[in-house]
Amino acid sequence: MDFHLYMAQRLSALVMAPLVLGHIAVMIYAVQGGLTAAEILSRTQGSLLWFLFYGLFVVAVSLHAAIGLRTVAQEWLGLRGVALSALALVTGLGLFALGAQAVWAVTFA
């Protein structure tokens, strides 16, 4: 693997680690006494904090997963060159689009 991809994957993991813990902690807190869309939205809508929290999460996940799947595709499917880069790019952009849309929907939409 290219050194820059290695670094991007490690740094995105570093970013994700506390975010995962925060996400799980909030989930445990949020499900106390039932879980409703209204309750979640009341917490996230208009909140810059949650926008940044999950926005950063989405960026880190997109990078991390795309690089990881790129390696899997290289070693297990034998993909090389343009096909490999295209797969990583489509995966990364696809995850970012899905995640960004969700974050936007629960914060500022």
């Binding site: 693997m1 290219d2 050194f3 290695y6 670094m7 070693e75 297990w76």
Partner: protein, 239 residues
């Protein structure tokens, strides 16, 4: 004794390999290399294989024995199988030339690719650089210098199997020993070489190299060291 071993040997060249079975007299003390030599001398003189020292010093007799890469000269038959059956094949992850002879060229090309070669720091006119055996870097280098290029780690490595560009444990370990060698004069060149496609960052730390090294070296530790030093250099900036 009169007992026989059922020995299955992978025969043939590129693209045309098949298994052939031989009945070989079983002995009390018998290495896998003894078995291969018996077949070549008494059953089938066309069998091709490599060996030289017979005592675990030269690294030329490595083969796949019951699916595991080993020095055949240092592997007793009874160590690899409860039953009197063994399967012997050429080393994995390398092209086969004929029968049990693997083509080592890609393996050694990768040593060069990893810059795992000496880069002189002084000319012959200058005094030899003193080496302190207690120095931490020297001790780290000492952990890896007993490698004899047998390619057992290379054959054991699943990352090499999945990624033919990967330089492999042996080349990277030698690069690491040179990086820790005060007499090597091109540390940045080494770090550049192990940072490219197929460099140390392709390693998944699965540890087959360390598990199978007949010299009980720890290439996985060396590769982890390379990863650490390349990252350190990226944060520190080039000297």
């Amino acid at each position: 004794m009169g007992d026989k071993l059922k020995v299955t040997v992978r025969r043939g060249g590129p693209g045309a390999q098949h298994d052939q079975t031989y009945a070989v007299p079983a002995e009390d003390n018998q290495t896998v290399l003894d078995v291969v030599s018996w077949i070549q001398q008494y059953a089938d003189p066309t069998l091709s294989y490599r060996f030289a020292c017979r005592v675990g010093m030269c690294g030329s007799c490595a083969m796949t024995v019951n699916g595991v890469p080993r020095w055949t000269c240092r592997t007793h038959v009874r160590k690899v199988s409860e039953r009197p059956e063994i399967h012997i094949a050429p080393l994995r992850n390398l092209p086969v030339i004929k029968d049990l002879v693997a083509d080592m060229d890609p393996f050694f090309d990768k040593w060069i690719g990893a810059e795992a070669l000496h880069h002189p720091s002084r000319s012959r006119e200058e005094a030899i650089a003193p080496i302190d055996p207690q120095d931490a870097a020297r001790q780290e280098a000492d952990l890896g210098i007993e490698c004899i290029n047998c390619a057992v780690c290379y054959a054991a490595c699943d990352t090499v199997a999945g990624n033919p560009d990967y330089l492999g444990p042996a080349a990277l370990q030698r690069a690491w020993t040179l990086l820790n060698d005060a007499k090597d004069g091109a540390h940045d060149t080494i770090l550049d070489a192990v940072s490219g496609t197929g460099g140390c960052h392709a390693c998944h730390s699965m540890g087959s190299c360390t598990q199978h090294c007949p010299n009980e070296l720890d290439p996985m530790r060396a590769i982890a060291g390379l990863k650490r030093d390349t990252v350190r250099r990226a944060f520190r900036g080039r000297r």
